[in-house]
Symmetry: C2
Subunit: 227 residues, 2 copies
Amino acid sequence: MRISVLGTGSVGRALAGRLEGLGHDVVVGTRDPGATLARTEPDVQGTPPYAQWQEQNSDVRLVPLPEAGAHAEVLVNATAGAASADALAAAQVGERDGLVVLDVANPLVFTADGPALSVANTDSLAETLQRAFPRVRVVKALNTMNAEVMVHPDRVPGDHVVFVAGDDAEAKATVSALLGEFGWGPDRIVDLGGLVAARGAEGFVLLWWSITQAYGTYDVNIAVQRR
Amino acid sequence: MRISVLGTGSVGRALAGRLEGLGHDVVVGTRDPGATLARTEPDVQGTPPYAQWQEQNSDVRLVPLPEAGAHAEVLVNATAGAASADALAAAQVGERDGLVVLDVANPLVFTADGPALSVANTDSLAETLQRAFPRVRVVKALNTMNAEVMVHPDRVPGDHVVFVAGDDAEAKATVSALLGEFGWGPDRIVDLGGLVAARGAEGFVLLWWSITQAYGTYDVNIAVQRR
């Protein structure tokens, strides 16, 4: 499948590398590939320069956003939430009827009190993207965990889960198939219903943050247990 | 221990009944006990009239809020989030230096899109109560699950957890001891740190709601799994 990942940070890299390894035709889209490749220092979060990652993932081409948009059968939004709408607009996905957009981003902002969301509670990043690009089919998934856990769920033992929300059943099935390739069995993919449920999935990120601090690791995830 | 539960709904009843059963000296506080006992119809959520519950829990006295406040060594806030500050004010807890307030409430409001929170993201109900009553020690816990699961964790199999947040370690220890009496082992009580973490615990309620809808049961809870 032709998959375009928007975003060159640790989440985009984890997804692009894993998808390429699974045999998909993957590009990573960014505003200015030359500038991205020219960076030689880690970013503010300590992520090594993209060029270093590229060396070990030479089959994943880094392309400008319009080329990424044109390439995509599935587009993965792994940009920072605050930049997501602009990135999708630059990728010219507005006219791509039915394009599946897997939105893994969180609208995180950092405050003196810790992380917060720029969109929350009565709206979600995923819904803002769906409204801005009504012809695509946005599916929220994977945003509730660390990048490495997203693509290698067996990093964390147990039957922990991934949540999926979206208004189009076929698009959710496409995403669920990709999740299955990552290692998420059908019983570990929880369909929360329509895209409105992205409010809960995104809102969970604040609790996820506290949990990572409590346990001192990002290799965590939640399981749902029931009677 | 002398425990006062504010709130006569299903959450307050579950907590009061269980605490009384464990041997504590429990009262339930409400604005107008006579009016509460006079009701003969289920409420809008289908909860049976309080008088019916009282018959089976006759050791739990229903008292006016000021009496509940005076009785409390530990005060449990099980009122609706929108009414919590007024209820604590009416219970006259403002001068009760060091009183442990176990806040299990959620600031839920219902919108056309489903549940939302009246306080969220950059603040929480628990923090608003702590600011309004700076002399008490607010501990957030148990708000992430159904009332029956709160007090009988073994209703749901597995090692699912309860989160605790608060600024005072001793108050959290008092609450954790009560949680232990309910059946929450030490390894299933996750200390999220300061009361600011109540933002995540309360924000989780939107995801919890979607999970209950996905599985068709309120007898659910989450476990934290880690590498």
